[in-house]
Symmetry: D2
C-alpha cells in the first residue's frame, strides 16, 4: 500500500472542510455566519486600554502592485477640483477627488466570488453568476454583514524567533499552534485571525518586488486548522496569502480554493500588522475588537478595507 | 442700535468656535484629538446586545450622484478577470475587479482638506498645499487616526414627530436638544453624532433627484452646539449636509466652513441611518460603538467609508 | 399563400447579405477589405479646395451619455499635474491629464466584436473569444487597418426637405436613393457613407434626452442597400444608429446584427455632420477624403475616433 | 570677451524663435495656423500608390509607461458588458468597454498647454488658465483644428547609417539636414515632420526600460531649424522627445519650452515610424498625406492620436 500523493492529501482536506449546505443552499456569506452576537460582545470585552491600530496601507499610485497581476492597478488618485470658488471668491472653495483602483490592489478582502473551481463558487453557486455587466450576482462583497468580531493576532514570525519568515515558509498547524501558544489566547469560533509573517517589512522598506514573491504564507494544511476552530476570517501581511511559489508543484492557489470555495471564508491580504504586533509583544494582549467592513461595491469579488484593531 | 445681520451672526460664530492652534500649529486632525482612550473604552462599554448596523449605501453606477457636482462620478465597477483559468483548466479560476469613483460619491467623510476659505484650510494651513500631483499634502484623509469612538444617534425627524424633515428644515440647537432628549443620552466630548433627517428615504425609494435637494440639514447655529459639547465628528443622511438651498441668501456652505475650516471637524454625508434608527426607537438605546475609518487615499480630501454601529 | 412576416423578411435579408467566408475564414476586418489602394487614390483625388471638417464631438463629462446604457460612462477628464515644477522653479513646469471613459461614449466606431448573435461574431468567430481579461481576442478594434477612404455624405434630412428627421423615421433604400441623387455622387465599393439625420442638433442644443431617443435611424432594409454597393463602413449622427424604438416589435438592434455580424461592417455613431453638411449644400461637393482611425485599444469592441473629412 | 554659456545660447534661441503675437493675442493653436488650404492640397497630391501606414502603438495595460512619470498610467481596458443579452436570448447580444488612461501614455500629441514657463503658456496665456476642474481653458487640445497636412519623414537614424541612434545622440541642424537630403524632399511651411531615431525598436522588442531613457532626441538647436522652415508640428519615436538626460546640465526639457511655449508647436511622442520608414527606404518617397487629429478631450493638455500616413 502506497502513501497518498500530495494531490490526494489536498483532495481529502477539501472534502473534510467543506461548508457547502451548512447554512442553507442559498447562503452567500459562509463562515461569517459564525459571528454571533455573543462573539461580538466578547470582542467588545477585549477593549481594555482604548488603544487603536490602523491595519491598512495607504492607497496610492506607488502602491503594492508591480504589474504582474493583469488589471490589478494601483490606485490613481486625481483631483477634480482644487479650492474651486464655485460660489464666488468670498465663499468657501471646495476640493474634490476621484480615483481608479484595482479593488484588490492594496489592503483588501478576497470576497467569496474571487475564485471558482470546476464552474462553482462557494456553496455550489454557479461561476457563471459573475458577469461583466453586473459583477458577482452571487457572493458579491456587498453582501458581507457588518464585519466586527474578536480578532486574534497569531505572530508566527515572532513565535519562530525571526523578524520575517523566509520566502519559502509554509505555515501549517505546527506554526499556528506555536503562535497561539505565544498569544496565550485560545482561538474560538467566530474569531478573525490576523497572521503575521513579517513579509510586509519589505513593502514598508520600499521593495515591492521582494514583497511580492517568493513569499511565505499558508500551507494547504492551514485551512484544516482554521476549520477545526471554526474561525470566521483570516488575514495576513502578504500579497499571495499562501506560500508562493506553491508547496505542491502544479497545484496553484490551493489555499484559495480551500478557504474561499470549500469553506466560504474571507481572506485578507496586504494587511499591515507591524505596529499591532509590536504592541502585542509589549503588553502581552493578543486579542482585540476588530472591525473590517469591505467597501460595499455592488457585485465586487473583493474590496478595499480599512481594518481597525481596538485593545 | 441695529440688530446684527445674519452675515455678522455667522462671522461671530466663526470666531467663537475656532480651534486653530488648540492642538498645536502643526495639527492636521482637529477634533479627532478629542477621541481619547477613555472615550474608546466608554464606546466599547456601549456594546450590550452585539447587534451590528452597516451605515453605508452600496457603491454602484446607479448611485447617489446625478451629475450636478462636476467630476463627482458614481462608481463604475468593472471586471478585469472572470473565472480566469490562469493556471490551467483544472486549477482555481480567479475573478478580479477595478473601479473608478468620486471619493465623495457615496457614503463618505469630508476630510479637512475638502474646503478652504480665504486661502486657508483648518488651522491656517495654506490652501496651496493641495496640488493636482499630490492631492492634499496637509490635512489629507490618510492622516485620520483609526476612527473608533462612541456614536450617538440624534433622530431629529423622530423627535419632530415626522418620518422625514421637510426640504427647508434647518437643524439648529433647538432641534438638536430635542433629539438629545429623545435619545436619553448626554452628548460628551469625543462623541461622533449621527443626525437623522429621514432624507435618505428618497434615495432608497429610487428618487435621486428628490434626495439631492431641496434638502434638510444643519443650520449655521448647529456648529456652535457641536463645539459646546466638543464632539469629534458629525454625519447625517443627506447629500448636502447643511440645509440647501442655504438659509442665508448668498452665504453658501457656511456650515462646511464652520465645521471643516474653523473647527477642524470631519463631516459625514450620505449615511444610511434608517435601520439603526428603527432599532434605536425600538430598544431605546441611542449610543453605540462606532467605527468609521475612511479609506486611506494618500492626499485625499475625502474618502469612502463603511461605518458600523455596534450596540 | 401568406405574405412573409417582418421577421421572415429580416431573416431573408440576413442570408442575402452575409459576408462570412468571403475574405477567408480567419478574416477579422470584414468590409474594410474593400478599401483598396485604388479607392484610396480616388479618395485623395476628391481633395480640391483643401477644406477640412472635424466630425467628432468633444470628449467631456457633460457628454452624450445619460446613464441608460449601463457602464457606458461619459469621459471623466482629470489633471494629474498642473504646472508642476518638477525640475525646479526656473525650469519648465508640466501639466498632465488622465481620463476614464466608455469607449463608445461619444463619437466612435462599433467594432465587429460589439455584437454577437447565437454565440457568433462576424465570420463565425466564437463570441467566447471576448473575455474580461483580454477583451476581444477576435475582431478587436486594434486590428482595424489604417482607415482612410472616400467618404460620401448622404444628407437624408436635406433630401427629405427637413432640418431633422422625425424620431420614428426609418431610413431605407428610398431615402438613401434620394440622398444619393441629391449628392450627385454614385456610391462605389469601398466608400464610407456618412448619413445625416439631423438628430445631432438636439445634442448640440444641449438636450441629451431628446438626442437619445426616439431617434431616426436605419431600417432593416438599409443594410441590403449598403451591401449591394459594397460600402466599407457607415456612420451617422445618432446614438442608436438604427431607428429606435425599433421598426419591428420584439426585434431589437436588427441593423446591428445585419451590419456587424452578417456583413462585418463598422458602424459609426454620434458623428457630428452639421458643418460638413452645410458646406456640401453650399458647394455641391458631397464626396471627400475621409480618415477615421479608431484609437487602437487592444481588445476593444469599439473605440473613440476623431474623423476628418477633407474636400 | 568670453563665449556665451550654453544657457545664454538657449536664451538667445528662445528670443529668436518666439511666435507670441504672430497670429494675434488670442491665438491658441500656434504653428497649426501654417497649415493652409494650399498645404492640404499639396498633401493630397502626395498620394500616389494608395499605401497607408498606422503610426500609433496599441493602447494596452502593458504599454509604454513604467511608472516614472507620476500619474501617467498605461491604459486599463475593461469590459462593462460581454455578449449581454439585454433584449433576450434570441436577440443580438452586446459587448461594451471602458478604459482609464493617461492621455499622454502612448502615441500622443503634447498640446500647447502641456508646459508653461514663468507662469506663461504659449502666446502669453496665463498658466493659471489650467484648472483641476476644467483642465486647460486656454490652448486646450480640443481646439486643435482638423489636423491633416503634408508629412515628411526625416529618418535621422538611416541618414546616420545606423539602425538606432545611441542614447546620448542630440539631433540638431546637421542631422536634420542630412535626413532631409536623404529624403530628397524640401521641408516647407506647414509640413509636419516625423523624425525617426529608431528608439522605438526597444519598445517593440519588449524592453520598456531601455526605451524610456537614455534616449536620443532633439537638441536645443533643432527648434531653430524647425522655425526657419515654419513647420507646423514635429513628432518622433521616443518617450522624451528631446535627448534625455539633457544636453545642458541643469536645463531640463528645454526643447519642450522652445517648441510648446515659444513657438506654439505641437510635439508628438511615441510614434511608431518603423514600417513607414522601411517603406520610404524602399520606394524613395518620403512625403505623404498625414492625418493626426488628437482625440478632442475638452481641456486636455495632450491627447492620444492614431496618425495615418498615406502615400
Amino acid at each position: 500500500m502506497t502513501a497518498p500523493t500530495e494531490f490526494q492529501v489536498f483532495q481529502e482536506i477539501a472534502k473534510r472542510i467543506s461548508n457547502w449546505g451548512r447554512w442553507g443552499d442559498d447562503d452567500e456569506i459562509g463562515t461569517l455566519n459564525l459571528v454571533t452576537e455573543d462573539v461580538v460582545r466578547a470582542a467588545a470585552a477585549c477593549v481594555r486600554s482604548g488603544k487603536r491600530f490602523e491595519l491598512a496601507v495607504e492607497l496610492r499610485q506607488q502602491g503594492i502592485q508591480t504589474g504582474i497581476i493583469p488589471g490589478r492597478v494601483n490606485p490613481l488618485h486625481t483631483m477634480v477640483a482644487i479650492n474651486w470658488a464655485m460660489f464666488g471668491e468670498d465663499a468657501v472653495a471646495t476640493s474634490d477627488d476621484a480615483a481608479t483602483l484595482g479593488l484588490q490592489a492594496a489592503t483588501h478582502w478576497d470576497g467569496l466570488g474571487h475564485v471558482s473551481h470546476g464552474g462553482r463558487l462557494y456553496n455550489g453557486h454557479s461561476a457563471d453568476s459573475i458577469t461583466p455587466h453586473e459583477g458577482a450576482t452571487r457572493c458579491g462583497i456587498e453582501k458581507t454583514p457588518p464585519l466586527v468580531t474578536r480578532g486574534v493576532l497569531l505572530d508566527v514570525a515572532r513565535a519562530q524567533g525571526v523578524e520575517r519568515l523566509p520566502g519559502d515558509a509554509a505555515i501549517g498547524p505546527r506554526e499556528l499552534d506555536a503562535a497561539e501558544e505565544l498569544a496565550g489566547v485560545e482561538v474560538r469560533p467566530g474569531d478573525a485571525l490576523l497572521v503575521r509573517t513579517g513579509q510586509m517589512a519589505h513593502y514598508l522598506a520600499g521593495d515591492r518586488e521582494a514583497y511580492g514573491f517568493p513569499s511565505p504564507g499558508f500551507s494547504i494544511h492551514a485551512p484544516e486548522w482554521f476549520h477545526a476552530r471554526d474561525v470566521a476570517a483570516v488575514a495576513n501581511d502578504t500579497l499571495t496569502f499562501e506560500v508562493f511559489p506553491p508547496e505542491v508543484e502544479g497545484l496553484f492557489l490551493p489555499v484559495h480554493l480551500l478557504d474561499l470555495v470549500e469553506m466560504g471564508m474571507l481572506q485578507g491580504q496586504n494587511w499591515n500588522l507591524e505596529q499591532l504586533a509590536a504592541d502585542c509583544a509589549e503588553d502581552g494582549q493578543y486579542d482585540f475588537l476588530l472591525t473590517a467592513p469591505p467597501e460595499p461595491f455592488t457585485g465586487g469579488t473583493g474590496a478595499p478595507v480599512a481594518p481597525i484593531a481596538v485593545k
